[in-house]
C-alpha cells in the first residue's frame, strides 16, 4: 500500500476546516465519493478520504466500519450535533469544505 500523507497534512493542503478531531496522524491512501451509505460501505477502502454531504450519525458508523481515514463534508453541508458527539467518541475526523465533490476530487487527484 502506497503511503501518501496524513489527515493533518491533507487538511492543510486543501484548506479544510476541522470539525471533529480524530487521529490526524492517520495516513490517507485513497479517496471515495458518495452519499448512499450502503454503497459507500461496500466500496470505500481502508484509508480513503470519504467525500459526502451526509453529516449524520450513520456516516460515523459507516466510516468506522469501512475504516476511512476521515470524512470531508462537501459544500458546507452540516454536521449534526449527535453525529459530532459520536464522531468524537469513535475518533472519526470530520473536515469541511465549501467546494463540491468534483472540485475537491480534482484537487485530491493532484495530491495522491
Amino acid at each position: 500500500m502506497k503511503i501518501i500523507m496524513t489527515v493533518k497534512e491533507f487538511s492543510e493542503k486543501l484548506s479544510l476546516k476541522i470539525l471533529t478531531e480524530g487521529d490526524l496522524s492517520r495516513q490517507i491512501t485513497g479517496c471515495y465519493c458518495g452519499d448512499l451509505l450502503s454503497w459507500v460501505m461496500s466500496r470505500a477502502r481502508e484509508g480513503d478520504v470519504w467525500l459526502t454531504v451526509m453529516g449524520n450519525v450513520n456516516s460515523v458508523a459507516v466510516a468506522v466500519l469501512s475504516d476511512c481515514a476521515c470524512i470531508v463534508l462537501t459544500e458546507n453541508s452540516p454536521l449534526d450535533e449527535a453525529a459530532k458527539e459520536k464522531a468524537l467518541q469513535q475518533g472519526i475526523t470530520f473536515l469541511s469544505s465549501d467546494r463540491n465533490a468534483y472540485e475537491l476530487s480534482v484537487e485530491i487527484s493532484k495530491l495522491i
Binding site: 448512499l36 459526502t52 466500519l65
Partner: protein, 141 residues
C-alpha cells in the same frame, strides 16, 4: 480459540444514534481476537446492514453472534412486519424504506444484497405480520 464466544445485542427501534453499536462491538472483538481485516470487514458490513434494517423496518430486534475457530454465525431476529416478497427484496435497488430514511442516506435497496455479498451463507426466515430472522455465516478461513 477452543471454545466459541457468544455475544448478544438488543437493537432499539427507531434510534439511529445507536444503530451500528452492535456491529461496532463485534468488529472490536474480532480485532482483539486477531481475525483478518477482510473477514472483519465482511462481518461488520453484513451486520450493520441487518441492524439498520431492524431500525428502519422492524422497530428493533435481537442479535446473537457466535464466534468459533472457523466461522462467525450471526442471527438477527425481529418481530417486524415480515418481508412480503423475499425475491424482490433481494434485488439490488429495490427498497420499501420511506422518504425520510432516504434523506439519511439509506433506502438504496442495497441492504439485503450487501448481506448476501459479504457472507458465505445467508438465509431469510420471514412471515408477514410475525417477523424476520436473518441467518448469516462468515467463514474465517
Amino acid at each position: 480459540m477452543e471454545e466459541s464466544i457468544r455475544l448478544h445485542y438488543t437493537v432499539p427501534g427507531d434510534d439511529f444514534t445507536r444503530a451500528g453499536a452492535a456491529s461496532g462491538n463485534v468488529k472490536r472483538t474480532l480485532k482483539e481476537l486477531g481475525v483478518s481485516p477482510a473477514v472483519i470487514r465482511n462481518v461488520s458490513i453484513a451486520m450493520y446492514e441487518g441492524e439498520i434494517n431492524m431500525v428502519i423496518h422492524a422497530n428493533g430486534g435481537e442479535i446473537d453472534v457466535e464466534i468459533t475457530e472457523n466461522e462467525i454465525i450471526m442471527t438477527l431476529r425481529d418481530q417486524g412486519p415480515g418481508i412480503e416478497n423475499v425475491e424482490l427484496a433481494m434485488k439490488e435497488g429495490f427498497s420499501t424504506a420511506p422518504d425520510n430514511i432516504r434523506t439519511l442516506g439509506f433506502g438504496a435497496g442495497m441492504g439485503l444484497p450487501n448481506i448476501k455479498k459479504y457472507t458465505d451463507e445467508f438465509s431469510i426466515d420471514t412471515k408477514v405480520g410475525v417477523g424476520t430472522t436473518l441467518n448469516m455465516k462468515v467463514k474465517i478461513q
